[in-house]
Symmetry: none
Subunit: 216 residues, 4 copies
């Protein structure tokens, strides 16, 4: 075991520690975001919760903005992963779409923090991220369109769906699903007396229906 090797060994261990710390920071930030909302996140708290020094945060991220950007990308990746898994578990295109719908709903419940967080950044017309960051984030965002896009294409291929522009429909569906998930926020006001789940399913069926070729 020579010096070179040892250095590498140490380097590896170091890398591992650094990765863990990075993760700890993101986890703390995400947790705070969920608990306290967007303004309720201070670097000081992130440091405390992640067990790191205040200044240390800045060796891992250039600032609060970059932490948010990273969380955004993570969120998009997580959603994409969910959708990819979902579609691969079933075969018929309509089922794929249902799976995607279910998957998004589940995600918006289970990872509420992430979901609201994305919402905030997508909704906000304000320039939060500098151009360069924004581009990087968007790359991750676009990926989540693929599973739906492919499911629709598959349906067309199989002659089950109308010959529509698959990507266009994927966009519409995603927009709609996104809108529908928001209804949950109204559960205690406008939605009184209704089950959000039922609404959601109905909305998904409504979308599939509009794609399906009608036998006359």
């Amino acid at each position: 075991m020579n010096a070179q090797h040892k250095r590498t060994e140490t380097g590896k261990r170091m890398q591992k520690v650094k990765d863990e710390r990075r993760r700890a920071i993101l986890e703390a930030a995400r947790g705070l975001l969920l608990k306290n909302g967007l303004d309720g996140v201070s670097i000081r708290q992130i440091a405390d919760i992640s067990g790191l020094g205040l200044g240390t945060i800045y060796s891992y991220f250039s600032g609060k903005t970059e932490i948010y950007a990273t969380l955004s990308m993570e969120a998009f990746d997580l959603i994409h992963e969910s959708l990819a898994t979902a579609v691969s578990s079933v075969t018929s295109p309509p089922e794929k779409i249902r799976a995607i719908g279910k998957s998004i709903l589940e995600f918006s419940v289970k990872h509420k923090a992430y979901f609201d967080f994305l919402d905030y950044f997508v909704s906000s017309s304000r320039r939060i991220f500098p151009m360069q960051m924004k581009s990087r984030i968007d790359k991750h965002g676009e990926k989540i369109l693929a599973p739906l896009h492919e499911a629709i294409e598959a349906g067309i291929e199989l002659g089950v769906f109308k010959r529509v522009d698959a990507k266009q429909y994927a966009l519409i569906f995603l927009g709609m699903l996104h809108g529908i998930t928001h209804l949950r926020k109204l559960q205690k006001t406008m939605l009184e007396g209704y089950r959000f789940d039922t609404l959601y399913d109905q909305a998904v069926e409504c979308m599939i229906d509009s794609l399906r070729i009608r036998q006359q």
Copy 2:
């Protein structure tokens, strides 16, 4: 013209000035909100933009929260008015729904400020308003459901639409429309190569379609 009359006259002018100032404050607040996001609004800025003194703002509103609440209610009322006008201009239920869709789209363009603003508050999971205010705001919010609700009911009555729960569908449609309007934000990224207007129309048709009784 006696003293009494004069005093009244003066009183009227004063009232007008006060109304104008109130409006100036709200306008400034709305503008800032949209440009800089919720945290990007400071009372100092509102004062500067509205051309008033800092302390003056506090004699018109008890604080930032009340300003936001007022804007929310105004926005809801404006939308409701738009929708009500829209539905009354056509007669057939499907046309009414199209009119509503068009109306919302137009509103989201023309009063982008207000629309994004509402979006922000509906989207935001954070507790912004104290309970009492929230209730008052919700009352205004619920009104915008009515025109769509009635249009669907009318369609059912006429035998054009399936016998669905009208309110439930109204909710779904509104959620969807809301989601779709968001797509506009992606015009420069995911939507590249597509016309937002086309997507929007398609989405509306898709909704009407899912309601219509199919002749076989």
Copy 3:
């Protein structure tokens, strides 16, 4: 009844109204002082409570400072009056001193607001009042020394008290009484287990004792 007369009549009524308003302002200020402490008095509140307009306060007093100055003088006069009444109700010099002690104690309970208020201004080394005001206030302050001064002199005259410098002793006694009244503030801490009243009486007796000529 000619115009001149009428004007005078009106002038009299006017004067009465003005006096009442002045009093209302002082009363409001005093009340607030008692309830909220020195910082808890705002001109706005004084206006509200006294039933006058905000700006009106400034036609009666040049500002907050003058209100305080007036209250100070009133307080001194009130104490003086109490003491004067007290000494005149008894005849023997020791009794007069006891009456003064009792009178001060009573005042410090009954007019707690005034008493604490004076305390604040006497204790405070800060220049609160401009020179001119200060002089005017001091004139009122000095008056409260007289009854005690005279009681001691009377005692000396009658051969009951030692031939001391009466004014000097009056000052010492007043200082002591003032110090003792402060003990009441410690009733819940240092004074636990003791009755403040007993302490007070004991202190007064102690003072009288030190004046009395001892029969051997």
Copy 4:
């Protein structure tokens, strides 16, 4: 000198710097308090005078209140120390009481700042400190009673003083002394023509006299 040692060394220096800063803040606060009164102290000023940044103050103290509380306790401790030293320098009980009197007078001159400060808080009827703080402060305050208490007890033990409740008399004397020191403020008004020192001594003798057993 290894790394560990070095770190400790640095730590010590750091601690020293922090102590100095803490002191600087307290000193600035005390000075301002005396010059401008309680409301005349702003954190901004404290920062400026102590040569620190505004925010820095908040890393040493949680706020203005805590600064005041700290000053109070320091002042009590300082007085206690003075008294303890004073009584231990003489032996006969009357001399001890004289020593205490002299000590308090000296303190009120030498540490005028602290003395007036305490005065302010003792006099002020307003609730300045939250319960918990108040308790902590009171603990320090009560200590200053002990030397006087013990001196009186010693006198009783020796048969020089009457068999009075020693603590009760200690309280009375302290209250009186406190009151007498206030007379100094009147040096330019009511006290004109009198020497404050003489008054003070006379007052102390008067107290001792009232304790002494009279030989008939």
